[in-house]
Symmetry: C2
Amino acid sequence: MVNEFYMLLAINEAWKYQGLTYPNPAVGCVVADKNGAILSVAAHKKANFAHAELEAAREALAKLNPLLKFPQNPNELHAFILQNHQNLLKDSTFYVTLEPCSHQGLTPSCAKLLCALHVKKVVIGIRDNTKQAKGGSEILKKADIEVVVGVCEKECEELIEPFLLWQKGSFSFFKLAMRLDGSYDNGIITSIESRKFTHKLRDVCDLIVIGGETLRNDKPTLDSRLISAKAPNVLICTQKTINKDAPLFGVKNRNVIIQNSLDFPKEYKNIMIEGGGNFLQAMRDRVDWFLIFHSNSFSSEKKQSVNIDLNLKLIYSSHIGDDLFGWYRRY
Amino acid sequence: MVNEFYMLLAINEAWKYQGLTYPNPAVGCVVADKNGAILSVAAHKKANFAHAELEAAREALAKLNPLLKFPQNPNELHAFILQNHQNLLKDSTFYVTLEPCSHQGLTPSCAKLLCALHVKKVVIGIRDNTKQAKGGSEILKKADIEVVVGVCEKECEELIEPFLLWQKGSFSFFKLAMRLDGSYDNGIITSIESRKFTHKLRDVCDLIVIGGETLRNDKPTLDSRLISAKAPNVLICTQKTINKDAPLFGVKNRNVIIQNSLDFPKEYKNIMIEGGGNFLQAMRDRVDWFLIFHSNSFSSEKKQSVNIDLNLKLIYSSHIGDDLFGWYRRY
């Protein structure tokens, strides 16, 4: 198949972890053997986990030699693969949405890993222009590896837009959950699987922003209890005096900022905004992306719905269990 | 990769044409060469078009020999491939969501085609138990082709549920289009691409069902003008006297049935119901599936929304342009 076919599989895999990789970019990687048979479809899942190329190499090697017992820790995994790859990935092709990193960060250079594996070709979606990581292509070329750059470039750029914005300052997204009929209230809307995904997003973001209305109506906790992970700091944007009886105030190791301005404090880089229609209207021109869930139910009970004018551009859609969701940006 | 990987690609491709293949089932097919490299990912697109296996064979051969000029007509294509395959697909594996047909229908037997191509293995999602088509596996086995049955069987059965219902009597689905906020009205809701898809569905169904409210509010035409195709017959379910000034009455070669019962006339097999919340409530227990679109916009204008209690099970989700959509059934 053509390069685009493999790259789209890599892009799609990376999107599954969008929002969870901070401060790293979402990256996907497909490995095909010398005949073009796919050996693995992998992605970077979270900071301190293996980069996409390392994870893809692991999965491909696991397929080719089921006896290999891989360590979990990405640094140990990197070292293990360098020692035990047995040239099984010689002449393979790696399709990576983002140029393999040149540098030793938390984990060693992916470009150098691919050189050591003696891969034949690396097909890259978009160049990594960050100061530390750039130059992977040059490392590959020096090792006589064929490098193709710019396959599905637009899609790969979209995939790392949050990362590009973190580099420049901050990335923010507004999360909204509705029933199939557009209704929402302060009860549970989406499935446990979708709420776990939301808690993963909360675990990874460094600030959750809500409005006074959400505080008063929902009395939320805004933690990541469904996945036993960290509760981020909270910014409450309100012009009214607030009652500190909501459970969010009782969460340990959390700062709660209360202000009447809608500006995000400068020190936060990965910002998640949660709310309903009124806060969406207030924040619509301040956020970068929108994450919108539609559950699988219609409800006739008294309820709220979003009542604003806004056109969005769909970037990616998928589902979690019975819930649809889409990542959007403004048109 | 494992059989399931290829089969899921075939299933996903088939879903793109769900609702458009009547009276045939939606079927997907992936061809991999002897090394496991994917040569094609194809689907049956419409009755009188090539079956999935024939289309997949065509696309695979086109890749292997770009000089081949394939005829359009599926019968001619079948004959052409038998003459010109040059054993290029020898030892390949076909992953098909539904057992290849044994019989000569509008097109010749797909099982016999695969025998003539000397494929090595055929991996099948679910057996075809229809009287005419069944027995494909036996034909393949007699030709010493390895046959694996039951890979992703549940998903493959879901894919052909409309077909299984056509066999038994009829299949019906309720199509609903809403904005992101759940609102709808008698204006345009979704993108031109989604509306073209809806017109394709109308072209293929043999009956559109609406309620009196839709007739009065929307004054619809209910044809397939966006794709210059046929306008199906219309059933209007209403208890009131109706005014025949809506454009749908002016469409040539169309029967319009008006009745106060909600029962579908027995002679129709592929039935599309269109409407809003009230008609959804009336029809919810009479239809097999639900096709729900969410456009990319929120609107503050005075509008309607669905106000019923209903939980649905998501079967498949995707997007057309900026619109999300899901195929659902009742829980």
